[in-house]
Structures are given as C-alpha cells and as structure tokens.
C-alpha cells in the first residue's frame, strides 16, 4: 500500500516552480490507482519521489510502511518503477538487460534464471530473449523495460505514462498484464494524461492539476460528484479548458 501525505517538491533557483504542492492520497493493494492530469501537472515528479529518485521538500510517503526517504534502499527493493525513461542497453540481449536488474536487486543463481525465463515467457519475449536490444521495436523495448522493472517481484508497481508510443496491440497487452498483477494483490499506481486509459483500467482515480489533487475517487464517484456524463467532461470541469492549446 502506498500512502502519500502532503508531499511537495519545487524546482528552480529560488524554488519558484511548485511541481508538486501538497499531494495526499492512498493507493491500495490489489487495486489500480490512476494519476490523471494534463502535461505539467506534476505526475512525473510525484512518481520520481515515490521511486526515491528525488527527495521531497516537504511531506512524506510510505510504501508498505517504509518511508521513501529514510528507508530509501528498502523501498527500492519493494517497488518496480517503469519511468518515462526506459532506455535499454543496446549491446546486451533482452535476457541480459533483465538479468542485470535482477542481479542488482539481489537475485542470484537458479532463482534469477527461473524468474527471468518466467517473465520473458509471460511477456511474449521468449523468441527475442537472446537478441541484442538495439534492433527492438518500441513495443518490444517496452516489454523488456517492464520485465526489468518486475524482475524482483515488487509489491508496488509505479508506471509513468506506460502507453506512450505504443500501438493498440501493445496497449491491450499491457492492460491485461496490469489486471493480472492486480489480481495477484499488487499495488499499482500509474500515471496518464489519456482519459480512456484511466477509465478503462483504474479502480481509483486521482486527478492532479498544478501540483495539487483536484479530486479523487472511482470513475463513478467522480462523475456523480461533478454531475458530468464522461470522465473527459469531469476532467475539463475540474481543471477548466484554460489548460489546453486553445487558451
């Protein structure tokens, strides 16, 4: 379970850019929580803080009771983060890419071999396993990056805009995978600016705007709360249309 409490982070020389400004929410185990927000709402910064890559200025967050600042290294062993940056090592094979992360997460020997084989098969990468990653397509790269993030069987999974640049088939595959992970009790937190994505998948939706939580709840709750018929209308009514290109 992920508990975020008044997390804040600013950038800039005088800390004048408030990327995340007092965000609080919970993401339960066995559920998919969606972070929905326009570009620049603070989704990536929030996920980077949860992945312990950057330290918050204020507030706190715990993952299964472990603090993201004080228990940083323990947290890293419990989360699988698929960030916006999902570069692979082109001269290593798919298998070697995944194995590298497995070893860094402390897996060794036959346990590592078995886990890597299982993941590669599960993601449909068995045939590509021993080819170098430099020739892979976007979708294939994505699958290897997912395998890499899941190699240590993390309890919490953080995904930052995972569907970016993927074709329909890959997106469907990803959705199936996330549902499978949910039914095995994982806590899944994923960010997107694509309404349909979030609507199709998430049990709870947290809408972010200007670094703050604008609203949260299930899709139905949000629609009821705002009196709008679709999630897109909910989104626009909460954030105003001043965000878009037309502004």
């Amino acid at each position: 379970m992920i508990i975020v409490d008044a997390l804040a982070k600013s950038f800039g020389r005088k800390r004048e850019i408030k990327a995340v400004d007092g965000v609080s929410f919970r993401a339960e185990d066995g559920a998919i929580t969606g972070l929905l927000g326009p570009n620049g709402a603070g989704k990536t910064t929030l996920l980077r803080m949860l992945a312990t890559l950057i330290a918050p200025d204020a507030g706190s967050a715990t993952i299964d009771g472990l603090d993201i600042v004080h228990d940083r290294f323990k947290v890293r062993g419990r989360i699988g983060a698929l960030s916006d940056a999902r570069g692979l090592y082109g001269r290593l094979t798919a298998r070697e890419n995944v194995r590298y992360y497995g070893r860094l997460q402390g897996l060794t020997g036959s346990a590592l071999d078995a886990r890597v084989d299982q993941l590669l098969a599960q993601l449909g990468l068995a045939e590509l396993a021993d080819r170098r990653a430099q020739g892979f397509s976007q979708g294939e790269r994505m699958k290897v990056a997912i395998a890499r993030a899941l190699v240590h069987d993390p309890a919490a999974i953080l995904l930052d805009e995972p569907t970016n640049g993927l074709d329909i088939m890959s997106i469907r595959g990803l959705r199936d995978l996330l549902r499978k992970l949910r039914s095995s009790g994982k806590c899944i937190l994923f960010s997107s600016h694509v309404m349909q994505e979030v609507a199709a998948l998430c049990d709870t939706i947290v809408i972010l705007g200007h670094g703050r939580v604008v609203a949260s709840g299930s899709g139905a709750e949000l629609r009821a709360k705002t009196g709008q018929a679709t999630l897109e209308d909910v989104f626009v009514s909460l954030l105003g249309s001043g965000e878009g290109l037309a502004a």
């Binding site: 980077r48 992945a51 312990t52 890559l53 950057i54 290294f73 323990k74 890293r76 062993g77 989360i79 983060a81 698929l82 960030s83 916006d84 940056a85 999902r86 570069g87 692979l88 090592y89 082109g90 001269r91 290593l92 070697e96 590298y100 992360y101 070893r103 860094l104 997460q105 402390g106 060794t108 170098r132 990056a145 890499r148 993030a149």
Partner: protein
Amino acid sequence: MKPADRILTVVTKELVDTFRDRRTMMVTLLTAIAAGPLFLALILNVAASQADKARELKLPVAGEEHAPALIAFLQRAQVAISRAPADYEAKIRAGELDVVLAIDPAYEADVGSGKSATVRLVFDRSRDRARSAIDSAESLLRAYNRVWGSQRLALRGVAPDVGRPLNVEDIDLATPQQSGSLILFLVAYYGLFASLMGGMAAALDSTAGERERASLEPLLAMPLSPVQLIVGKWAAVATFDALVVALTLAGFYLTLNFAPLPAVGVPFLFGAAELGRFLLVLLPLIALLPAVLLYVGLRGRSLKEAQANVSALLFVVSMLPVIQHFLQEKEPPWLLWAPISGQFLLLSRALRGEAIPALDWLPSAAAPVALTALSLLAASRLISRETVLGTR
C-alpha cells in the same frame, strides 16, 4: 546482497557492454595500439635515411674550376661532387637541394696573393632533412682549412699548435639509449596517451551515453548507492584502460625487439624490465584518468556534449609532455608530484635505463590517488543530483 557483489555486477555488465562495442574497440585498437608502433617504424626509417645521407654526402659545387685542390680533398673524403645548377639558390629554397658549395671567382687570385679565399656554403637550416648534409659539409671545410693552415705554418717553421691554441674534442656522454631522444619521447608519450584514450570511450558511454539513451533513471532506482554505482563503473573503465595500456606497450615491445627495423645505430632498449616499469609508472594514471573521465562524462547530457568537455582534458594531457620535452631544462624536484608531468618524468627515466626507486614512485602516485578518490566522490554526488534525471 553484499555491496561488493553489486559493484561486481556493475563491473561485469560494463565490461561486457564495452567489449561488444565494435566501433569503439576498432578505434581504440587503431589509435592506441597500432599507431604507436607505426609511428615508431616511420621515425626509425627517417633516421636511417638521414644516417645514409650523412655517410654519402652529395655536394653540388659552383665554380669548381677555381679550386682544384679543395675539390680533390673533398673527393678523397668520399664526397660525390657534381656541378651545381645555375639556379641553385631557388632549388635550395624549394628543398630540392640540401646544400651547395659556391667557390668565389677570385679564389685563385686571393690564394696567390696570400689573402683568405672565400667559399660559400649555401643552405636552408630550417630543413631538418638537410641538417646532416650541412653539418658534414661544414666539418669537411673546417678540416680542409685546418690542414692547409697547418701546412703553411709548418713551411714557415712554426709548430701547427701555435695557430691552434684551443683543441676542441667532442665527448658525447649520451649512452646509446639516450641518443634516440625523439624515439624515447614518442614511446613515453604514447604510453601516457594510451592511459587517457584507453578509458575515454568506455567512460563516456557509461555516463553521458547512459543519460542519452535514458537508461540512467531506472538504474538509479536500483537498491545500490551512488558510490557503489560509480565505483563499479570506474573499476570497469580502469580495467579496460589498463588493458589498452598493456597492449600499447606490448606493441612497442614487439616492434622494437622483433620487427625488422633499420639499424640506426641506436641500440634502443625497451625490454621486459622497461615494460614492467612503464606499467608501474602509469598505474596511478590508469586509476585517475578514468575517474576524471567519468566525472566529466556525467556533466554531459549527451555523448556529444561530453566529448566537447573532454577535449579540454585531452589538451592538457597531450600538451604537458610536449612542453616538458622541449623545455629541455633540468626538471624541478616538485615536478615529480604533479600528475602526468611526474609520470612523464619517470617514463623518460625508465627509458634511459634507470630504475624507478619507490621514493620517486610514491610522490608521483600520491596526487593521482588522492584525485581519484576526489573525482569518484564528486561523480557520486553528481549522479545523485536531481539534475541528472532532466535529460530532456
């Protein structure tokens, strides 16, 4: 999992990655390993042809009919006399002729009236290639002057020594190994150069390259500390660097000991002992330069940016030995403490056949070891800064 295991995991991955980078391997092999021995063969051949030239001096003469005795003297000294073309000055300027002897038309008249006769040696001393011809022509004319003068004094009943109060003897203290100074310089220079070039591609790829291909962020989310990550990367780069240095030196060793090089009269020594001393002297740099390269590489958002940053380092490392070589002064004692300069000093000594006492090696290693630790620390701090994530 122990920290050492994690570091070893990083080292293994980085080494595999480097060895599979075919382009980098090719460039490294060519620049560091093949170019040195190639240069060496070239220089030795130039030296050999110069030595040949000195042995058989070809001297075009203008107005040889005015001084038959001088011409006969030169011919007895195995000089090939020929008639100089009318435009010899232009030909010397153009580098087609090395040196020309022009005998003054008034030569016979001056000799007959007991005055000093004039001969002119025309040359362009800025041409290295011509230098040995110029030198031998000069010394032959001086010898002729001396012989003739002695004969005149003897005719007047004066001992030849009266006209020659100073007797200059050349005693060259250079051992045979010292005389190939340019070759010595080249070998030491290449040894230094290899320790920089050897780690460059690997260091930049594992820092700026990692940022560029967006694989750094997920790596930083792994449960290992920035110091462990940097130490792992450094150990891999330094290992590769050491390998390149060893191969470069082995190339020199094989070239100098087994290749059919022209006998230049420089029994130049680069045997197993020198090879060992070279490696020992370069060891601190094999630690330092990869560490500095990692730090510089991390400052670059892309490989291109990092390469631009590295060129400053490249300039310093490649210029210091050149300056040191051409200053030709006795080195001040503190120079031993300076990285790169200290190593170059010791390498030159090793090449002159001197042993490297521990008392000299330790100061030369002190600064590099301290700077290595500092660079690694700085790189660890840099990699844990939030700004390294902002690739785009």
